[in-house]
Amino acid sequence: MSQRSSPGPWFAAPVAIFMLVCFAAPIFIVAWYSLMPSRTFGLTGDLTLENYRSAVTDGYTRPLMWSLIGAATTTLATAILAWPTAVILHRYAGRWAAVASALIALPIFISESVRLFGMSVFMMPRGGILAGTMNAVFDIQIGSILNTWSAAQIGMIYIHLPFMLFPLLLGVSLIPADRIEAARDLGATRWQTFREVELPLAAPGLLIGMLLTFVLCLGANAEAAILGGRAVTVITAAIEQRFNYAQDWPMGAALTVIVILVTALIVLPVLSRLDLNRLTRR
């Protein structure tokens, strides 16, 4: 044997090149664009931070705030809904768990816009499925929340529930039954058992679910457009608008960079605390 060469870098090379070309390069271009003068279309202008300054002064903090609120609310709501669902599926559903999981996963294979338009038809005033049925069957007239932020919020929760549920199912399955019994035996109430034992033990799954949901929601646009009727503008819509109608690419790029930074600021601390080994049972 002549020379010991480590095969690692060679095997990693294809992925590394792919990441460089498809991930790092676009981000670099966007970051560079964000430093170009307003409403220019080249990468050769003088570097300036003007776009970032106007991002704050021109009121783009509002859309960003709405996106953050939407993402946070959705993350919290899906977590609260998914926890009992995961516990029931894992502990009590037995062989029905697979069927139930499949039914919950099924909608993922249908286009998001199609599902949102379905919800929109459901929520429509007067002739809509909900209002129409209430009127025809119970003779109750109700209004509609369609085209409000609440409708968008409900849509986000509905769309993102599976992304919370499946990691959480994995997390809940990490809780050994005897730890729960031990906690109960040592005098813990149900709530204390949840807080002190179940939650920490399921944390890896819960955190992954929360990260997924949060990041997906930050980039969500369709819910606010289709169900929210653009009652509020989310940051994704603002970015899209900068790139399309306003033809202000540097500004769009600056907003994109801001979103990436905010995401990283929230996601990285959580990610660093995540014990992936425990999740894969190594």
Partner: protein, 352 residues
């Protein structure tokens, strides 16, 4: 201070089981068990795998609801009260330590649930570390960094921390190697004497039960077939199941020969005044040389047990027997035949 354990049966009853049963589908895991446990007793429930020991102790701890029957703590009915409302604590077979916490946090768990202030909790945890013979600096160590024996002690301290009136142990030592197990058995016994608490211990090893217990209950297919002190069980097992559970013993079967005389079918020897259908003779009661009941046996195996020698023997009728003799018994070479004997005084009679 050592508690006197000789008159335990005179003490007031702390836990009574009245006809407890638990069925899983068609299986009677626990079948109509009634038992009174006096305060401060070390009771061991022994039985083979699947005899329902865990199910029974889980009912007592409140982790499983019985199908029928009642459970009383002193005079209070507690059959329906949940585990967290019972003044009992369990040491699990798996130990069920909270791996995401430190040794100290594990021990303090029960106190934290009760809302004991952090400083008091810490003091008590340090006391308990001492009680179970762990160094104080283990307090802040993650439990995942403890050895098997240390984890055992942490589990014990954690159970004691809830200040329980009764402690349940579901085979906590079964996964531990022989020597450490022996040490922990003795420590557990001492801990019982020092604390004066009621211990209900589960094991499938009668040997372990003999070492530690004030009283032993033997379980077979969901039922308790015999209860008694270790000495009582040792000298008078009620049936062959209990006798064979004690390890290597000789069990001989009585039958009537053609002349209507009672003979042991394994060795063909007659016996007068039989008081049961089966006779148990301990290996040490089967002595070399002629005596009251004598039979010719051939040596098939010879094992040294330190100061004693165990020989495996076969009778002319083909039955195998075991004898234990003092010293090295040099004359008992494999293949040689010798007279062996036992006296009727040494027989424990059984009906089934």
């Amino acid at each position: 201070m050592l508690h006197d354990t000789t008159h335990i049966t005179d003490r007031p009853v702390i836990l009574s089981l009245a006809g407890l049963s638990k069925t899983f589908g068609t299986l009677k895991a626990v079948d109509d068990i009634s038992l009174s446990i006096p305060e401060g007793e070390f009771l061991t429930i022994v039985g083979p795998s699947g005899s329902g020991k865990s199910t029974l102790v889980r009912i007592l701890a409140g982790l499983e609801a019985p199908t029928s029957g009642d459970l009383f703590l002193r005079d209070t009915q507690i059959t329906q009260s949940p585990a967290n409302k019972r003044p009992t604590a369990m040491v699990f077979q798996s130990l069920a330590l909270f791996d995401h916490r430190t040794v100290g946090q594990n021990i303090e768990f029960a106190m934290k649930m009760k809302g004991v202030p952090a400083a008091d909790r810490r003091n008590r945890a340090l006391e308990l570390l001492q009680l179970v013979r762990l160094p104080e600096d283990y307090y802040s160590r993650p439990v995942t960094q403890c050895s098997g024996g240390e984890r055992q002690r942490v589990a014990l301290a954690r159970a004691f921390a809830s200040d329980p009136e009764i402690l349940f142990f579901d085979e906590p030592l079964s996964a531990i190697d022989y020597r450490l197990r022996k040490t922990l058995e003795v420590e557990l016994k001492e801990l019982h004497q020092r604390t004066g608490r009621t211990f209900v211990y589960i094991t499938h090893s009668l040997e372990e039960a003999m070492v530690m217990s004030d009283r032993i209950a033997i379980m077979q297919s969901g039922r308790i077939v015999q209860t008694g002190t270790p000495a009582e069980i040792y000298s008078a097992p009620v049936n062959r199941f209990v006798a064979s559970f004690m390890g290597e013993v000789n069990i001989l079967t009585l039958e009537k020969d053609t002349g209507g005389k009672q003979v042991f079918s394994e060795i063909g020897q007659p016996v007068q005044a039989a008081r049961g259908a089966y006779a148990m003779i301990r290996p040490e009661a089967l002595e070399l040389g002629p005596g009251e009941i004598t039979t010719q046996l051939t040596v098939t195996q010879r094992l040294m047990l330190g100061s004693r020698t165990q020989v495996h023997l076969v009778s002319e009728l083909g039955a195998t027997l075991i004898s234990e003799l003092p010293g090295t018994a040099p004359e008992l070479d494999i293949g040689t035949t010798h007279p062996f004997s036992f006296s009727t005084e040494d027989i424990a009679w059984m009906d089934e």
